[in-house]
Symmetry: C2
Subunit: 405 residues, 2 copies
């Protein structure tokens, strides 16, 4: 007897923390706003009498005991957002987990296995790279110290920011074991809405390649420097950004390529830029195709740099191969949705998710619901209450199934 | 008997104000650094017992009386810099003027006409647009109130910044009349050095067209948004920046086009940019060619915006037609240089200068000396002491000639 209205009310309440004037929310990872959002969620966890633990990278776990000890059925996601974020991305998965536990309490149901709701640190990767950083540390594939030493786009150190907001916890890393991991999320793309499908059964996550490129040219006078004598780092960056879109379009299919961040120095109207720093985000469901796009990017950068007489360095910000979720658990998501009378469609996830990290250590699967106009990372992000209730029902039913009663 | 060493010493001393760790200087107009630079120059003016007046836009005038009243022979330039500036650009013209007056004092020479050294506000146009703002107000072609209301790239109001640094003067605007205007400047381009010429005799200044373009698209998820559904303001900006260089190269000859400033919002690795703001600097010595480049830019912006499904607005930041200096005064610059045994070359200025504004109200001319590697708006900007002394001799000789003894 999960309650979709109660979940939507909590989504709205959490959406007030870091709310933007134009709607939507900005709670970039480990900013004071993220801290305030965490405080609210942890208060709800404690109100529900859950056992809250926080690990040294700031991942938050709230556990409802089972009748037996042992690994948890884990329901998780994140509550950090991008700078132009919606109130659903990530938050939905965490708050839906809390709603499932509340519904179990309301119905007086004891589960055999414990159920844990997890909120992982810096899933977005917008302020610190890589994305899914907290879950990557949790599964043991990014050393804690390296993660704590990560520098944000604002120049701050992750460990310092974490301490500042009071979430440098002391619970042992990876201390809470998961028997299975479920993540409920908005699709963030246009497919479910376009096809009129209730539930996306996520088979896996496409590969992600993030590169930072720094181009060094020579500052000079925009009026007095002939075109042929320039070493224009800004022009080189613009040509690369243009070329990234061309690479994605020429590979076609599911290939996407984005230059979301670009900064020039000194960034003045009449100075040829001496420096440009840009990010390139490449993604594809197949490793071979993603690697091909990366090779084309490398060739593009080398060619443009030579033609524009600039030098360059590259830094890998994130690189994750495509992930396939556990076939059996994916099948159970599908069966559960169908048993509830919901229409389903198998699909790959365009966005990265903590589930892809948890999948390294336990069976993991995801439940998607439609995003209006496919919009996410946009303040107008929206999913209808009925859709939210649909996904919640799938999540609750399957979690109870997995945990046993 | 002008003293080049004394001039170089003052250039270096002023270059300490706002000095950058890597060399060069940052004294963007009306910042505290500009204020400190002004304080030093005004102190030198007062030490030389010149009559200092400051007008309401912050232009500084230092006058040495003549034996007769009447309009001045004016020697001027500016002391504001770009963010990656050298110590010569602008400063040379102002400090050379003071050196000429010091030499007259040293030699006990009285001139018939007064001689005034002027330092105009915000010549660079890097922090406030348009460039040559102070001299444009001085000649009466930009209303004072409009100038004071100009907003900087930092979001501040010019009038407030001017008051903050204590240079909102009370002398009547345009109160000091010029019989002729001389500006001594580094070339900022590569021609004189390449050809081994001592003195550039400047016949005019090329036309300048500055436009700010703001592109509005839609923020969306870099992983989950198919290429064909994007409205990527960043990609549109990159294509326009690439296209500006193509326009300049395809017109060829002296045509230059630069995108020196480009900002994305939210400027994050995994968010398709919802907004991009960029500047376009187009210049050519012929009005017809400049207008043709502007038309091509307008067509480019319209085409790219349509193809990328973004909307756009344009704002004119500066527009100055090419300027031809007074033929007779230009001839006197040439004759003076030759009479001193210096090699000369007639040329157009690639950069904008206060002289092009003064030319609207009196005969104006400029003296150029070589820039090493043609570099300016670069911290490595350099002109050799011998070249500085050459230009100083031309300036001093001609100024005395014009003022009469
Ligand atoms: N779900 C989500 O938006 N994750 C952010 C990481 C990414 O895919 O860029
Ligand atoms: N001389 C000089 O650098 N002026 C700045 C204005 C411009 O030409 O961009």
């Amino acid at each position: 007897p999960v309650n979709g209205d109660r979940l939507v009310a909590r989504l709205k309440a959490l959406g007030q923390v870091g709310a933007l004037p134009e709607g939507g929310v900005c709670r970039l990872a480990l900013t004071p706003e993220d801290g305030a959002g965490r405080d609210l969620v942890v208060r709800w966890m404690r109100d529900q009498k859950l056992q809250v633990t926080i690990d040294p990278i700031g991942n938050i776990f709230a556990t409802r005991k089972g009748t037996q000890d042992g690994p948890s059925v884990m329901i998780g996601s994140h509550i950090d957002t991008v700078a132009t974020g919606g109130i659903y991305d990530g938050n939905l998965g965490v708050l839906a987990g809390l709603e499932v536990l509340q519904a179990l309490d309301d119905a007086g149901i004891a589960t055999v296995q414990p159920v844990t709701v997890a909120a992982f640190t810096n899933e977005e990767g917008a302020r610190f790279q890589p994305d899914m950083l907290g879950s990557l540390v949790h599964v043991g594939d990014l050393p804690l110290q390296e993660a704590l030493d990560t520098i944000s786009i604002d120049g701050t150190r992750l460990g310092d920011d974490l301490a500042d907001i009071g979430y440098a916890g002391t619970a042992p890393l990876g201390g809470i074991k998961a028997a299975a991991y479920l993540e409920y999320h908005i699709e963030q793309g246009p497919v479910l809405e376009a096809e009129g499908i209730d539930i996306g059964v996520v088979e896996g996550v496409q590969g992600i390649s993030w590169t930072e490129i720094t181009l060094s040219g020579r500052a000079s006078h925009a009026g007095a420097t002939p075109m042929r004598l320039r070493r224009d780092a800004g022009l080189a960056a613009a040509r690369i950004a243009h070329g990234v879109a061309d690479i994605a379009k020429s590979i076609g299919g599911d290939m996407v390529g984005t230059v979301g961040s670009l900064r020039l120095r000194p960034n003045l109207v009449n100075v040829v830029a001496e420096m440009a720093q840009m990010t390139v985000d490449l993604r594809h469901p197949q490793e071979k195709v993603l690697a091909e796009a990366e090779a084309r990017l490398a060739a593009l950068v080398a060619r443009v740099a030579e033609e524009e007489h600039v030098s360059f360095t590259r830094r890998r910000l994130a690189r994750f191969e495509p992930v396939a979720f556990d076939g059996e658990l994916v099948g159970r998501v599908e069966k559960t949705a169908k048993s509830l009378g919901l229409s389903t469609r198998r699909m790959f996830s365009g966005a990265g998710h903590d589930a892809q990290m948890l999948a390294r250590t336990c069976p993991a699967a995801m439940v998607f619901v439609p995003s209006i106009a496919g919009l996410s990372h946009n303040t107008a992000e929206y999913t209808a209450p009925d859709d939210i209730a649909n996904g919640l029902a799938v999540l609750g039913t399957l979690a109870l199934d997995l945990a046993g009663r």
